[in-house]
Symmetry: D2
Subunit: 324 residues, 4 copies
């Protein structure tokens, strides 16, 4: 393999730039040419390629976002779109791909390989940490620290006013961010999509806490909780608490995707980037590089996409004990 | 005066603890006893007083929120409530008050003085910076830096996805936070209650920016803008832009009230706290301590509450030039 | 067991408060009385005990330092000192101990148990991450992020002035902090006690980087490197580089011990705190609670203290590839 | 004037990029061509000029350092050097200059104007805040917040170990950073070059504090204090305190120059940048743009360089009262 391409796709995550840097420098170290593909699959279809040298990725390890930009591509979901992409890669002499993204990204890469034989190795870049086959995804550690910093700030005002706060964090299908923020933020309760928490339980927990002379409380809610969105949940709880507490809602939103990556995310991204290039050059394809028990693993795209990665139920219990 | 009380009231603001510390230590330095009144006027009515020593305020200068807690009191709005408060103060031997808060707090103090003759000196503590008679209020500098940090994070993701973001910051009646964040955050446009910005202007500015090959844009909106809340504004703009851009909305919310105060807020709070005790002991009442052109001022409560403090129109213009 | 004591000892680490909170609340949850021992073994000898309730540890999870204070005790190294400590514990009815600290702390606990039979369970709290039997120690994740934030700031000025910076991070006997900061900070080179890096190699790496048109460089040095302290190393390198580069030195120092703990450190501390109380109540003694491959482990004090925990040599290689 | 140049010179300061952005965009807004001169006067002599467009300064407002790089130039101190610089400017058609830097930078600009008639307008960019004619310089607000954050972290460990810390902050000739950090950091004492503080006074203050049951203390020392550097001061104090306290020293160093600028520094830099271009185009030269009482001022270089800007003595007193 003489020339490879690298791109970011789907929702951006802090640490993607650190991964791009690692990919580029490892390729150069291995004496392979490396090209950046802009805006994910859209840029592949359009032939938006830029040559990358070592200095192209200087001073980006600490930056949020992605210098290659990202997008979700509808055109790549069609055969026609993928054909165009293949032709662009051929024209540019790109023989292999490194895809940084989540399950949508890898689904596209898998189909693309099956149709056109372009080998792709994936790097898990998503704040949600919901990909099977890797203990951590790039961006997760930064996202939980960003959310936690926000929760700490909200606790200041919750505590000053004896309030009950419902705080929504990201995680449409997964409670990874919520559970980490709940434990680390000293929440009374965490509500996640994976586990049923009834309004009744919320009301009881709150009431018990205040009986033990708590004066402020925080409930962390994942966006995808089965009881509804955070405003609906807060309204239901408020109805049951009959005005006893001053209840507020805060949705953390897009700040969770940005910011300078943490040490962990940069190290993870660096390791995955090196390993991805090594795997691609060693003839691997259709796999995602992961980290399990701190060792590099190769996970078939199929597993990464379709297998479940459950959250630890003991962590839900941990919140309960520690909010006593 | 042998004994004074200090309390925080209304919305909390970062730096209130630094002000409490300064009040307590200055009182002790002047050999006056000082008592903390918990939860604002509610605690005054209930007689929730705690004696404060020098070490009571150790290690709090860096903390958000208020160790004396805060509240809005409905009972203090009645004559009966104020009478109870007066009796509690008399019983405890408290002869003067330092009130840390905003215009609601000072309105209460003014009436209270007129009815019961308890002298009060006010310290402006509110993130909104909308009090006449002081260039800055405690908490404003921290709030704009917190909001700015969030905007920086959102810019990472806006830029990675070529998005147009509408970001709502606090300021129900005032654009102080919005205008500062707009300039410092490199926004295309700022929408504040004090100035009319039509949807038409927003659409034009966005379109012009993208013609000049901008790929992402940020519009900062104060909560009290006359065009509606941030979701309504974004929807109106989206309707006019006909799907050309990927538009998102983010409401920063309560994080803006919390966090460790900045250097400026701590210094401001320290200076105001010292000056407030000095003024009270010198026989002043019904005044707020302010800082104008970096010098301490005494402002009658009446002025602080009722006079207008306009934002600088040149700053709106500044955003326009710098987003070219 | 009806009553247990908890204390922090040795160098403080961010997250110790989160561990104290977890210990206290788990004990209460298990209906066991819990007492805080102030200033480590010194406070045990002096009988400085304070009863702890659930609310005693409210709102501390996010705070650096330790509310129980810490110290190194010379008196506890003598039999006489330990005897006094034992008598104080007996008088207070304390039947078991949770010790939060590093190898010095656990050495003391081990001897104490052998002489007086007081069962102790240890929690690894040290920023150095050099304890065998646990993948991570409390404080390490925060320390590397604090150091990284400083390195990011120094890179700003290094880059603006085309400078070569030698940055010393903590780690007297261990390169854990240095290696993590080196990878995450995009350093050219990392110098750690565990591996020999000659001045010659440093000079070569720097020269090669600058030939490839690098204009600024960072070398991360652990305090305990065998080539001397950071000033000596910088001077030796400067002598060899013959004034070609503008060389500066920065020692990060004590900031690495402070600050609000990261999400990871709070979660780790919470898990370890719960598991420590459970182990003590289950009759365990002379063990440290650790986390290996994300699962709780019980490690004999002897192993934790005496066994080696090597750093990953591949990480040294990683720095070399990525600084190309 | 059809074409102007902008450069940064001397020590870098956070917010310089925000100033560059404002200069570039204002020039474009006024339909004047703008060129970036790399590495200060050295780049002027070497003719290292780069054309700047609006997008050249996109997404830099939040970055520390300077995209134009900075240097101190020995060659520009010679007539020969300045002549070369003049010839390069002539060749490039650059008719006026915006210089971002401190007194060394303005001294050079003044001489250059006198010899070659190139009009220059200066923007005060230095963390030290020691330039006459402006209340604040770009970078000062960020530097004090960075130093304060470090002091907060050190207080965590000082407090956990009952230590006395001497912390050195930047300010070779000026105590501006030290005094701000001293007030905001809750220091016992601040030692600045402008005021004599004897070792005797330090010893007394420390002893008095500990008599009032303080258990930890912080003394902030400016690098240029007349009693020597922070290590010498700490040693002298230690000798007098006869081992009563556990004394440590920390030098904050270069981190104070880096980091993302605060809201204030970005707003200040933006205002100064706009005003500088307006002044240059209006035919002004040999002046620095400043801000006094929140209004833009024009200060002759001569005044900015030679006049004294004293620190507020009342602030020294403030520290004394508040550390009671």
């Amino acid at each position: 393999m003489k020339k490879i391409g690298v791109f970011t796709s789907g929702g951006d995550a802090p640490g993607m730039n650190a991964a791009i840097r690692a990919v580029v420098r490892t390729a150069i170290y291995k004496e392979v040419e490396v090209v950046g593909i802009l805006r994910g699959y859209n840029g592949m279809i359009a032939g938006n390629f830029i040559p990358l040298q070592s200095h192209s990725v200087s001073n980006i390890i600490q930056r949020g976002g992605t210098i290659l930009k990202s997008a979700r591509s509808k055109e790549f979901m069609t055969y026609e779109g993928r054909k165009k992409a293949f032709e662009q890669l051929q024209k540019a002499g790109i023989e292999g791909l490194i895809a940084i993204g989540g399950d949508g990204t890898f689904t596209g890469a898998k189909v693309f390989y099956e149709e056109f034989g372009i080998p792709t190795v994936g790097i898990p870049g998503t704040i949600d940490n919901d990909l099977y086959g890797t203990d951590y995804t790039i961006g997760y550690d930064t996202a939980i620290n960003t959310a936690l910093d926000a929760i700490d700030k909200i606790r200041d005002t919750a505590d000053s006013h004896d309030r009950l706060f419902f705080i929504e964090v990201m995680g449409r299908d997964s409670g990874y961010i919520a559970i980490a923020c709940g434990i680390a933020g000293g929440a009374e309760l965490v509500m996640v999509p994976e586990t049923l928490t009834t309004i009744e339980e919320v009301v009881q927990t709150i009431n018990q806490g205040w009986k033990r002379s708590k004066t402020s409380s925080i409930v962390v809610v994942a966006e995808g909780d089965e009881e509804g969105n955070v405003h609906e949940i807060a309204a239901k709880v408020a109805a049951r608490l009959e005005g006893k507490y001053d209840i507020r809602v805060s949705t953390l939103g897009h700040i969770q995707r940005g910011g300078s990556p943490t040490a962990r995310d940069r190290i993870l991204a660096s390791r995955l980037g090196v390993a991805a290039v090594e795997a691609l050059l060693a003839g691997k394809q259709n796999i995602m590089i992961g980290v399990v028990n701190d060792e590099i693993t190769h996970v078939p795209f199929e597993d990464a996409i379709y297998k479940e990665k459950p959250i630890r139920q003991e962590f839900i219990e941990l919140v309960r004990i520690l909010s006593i």
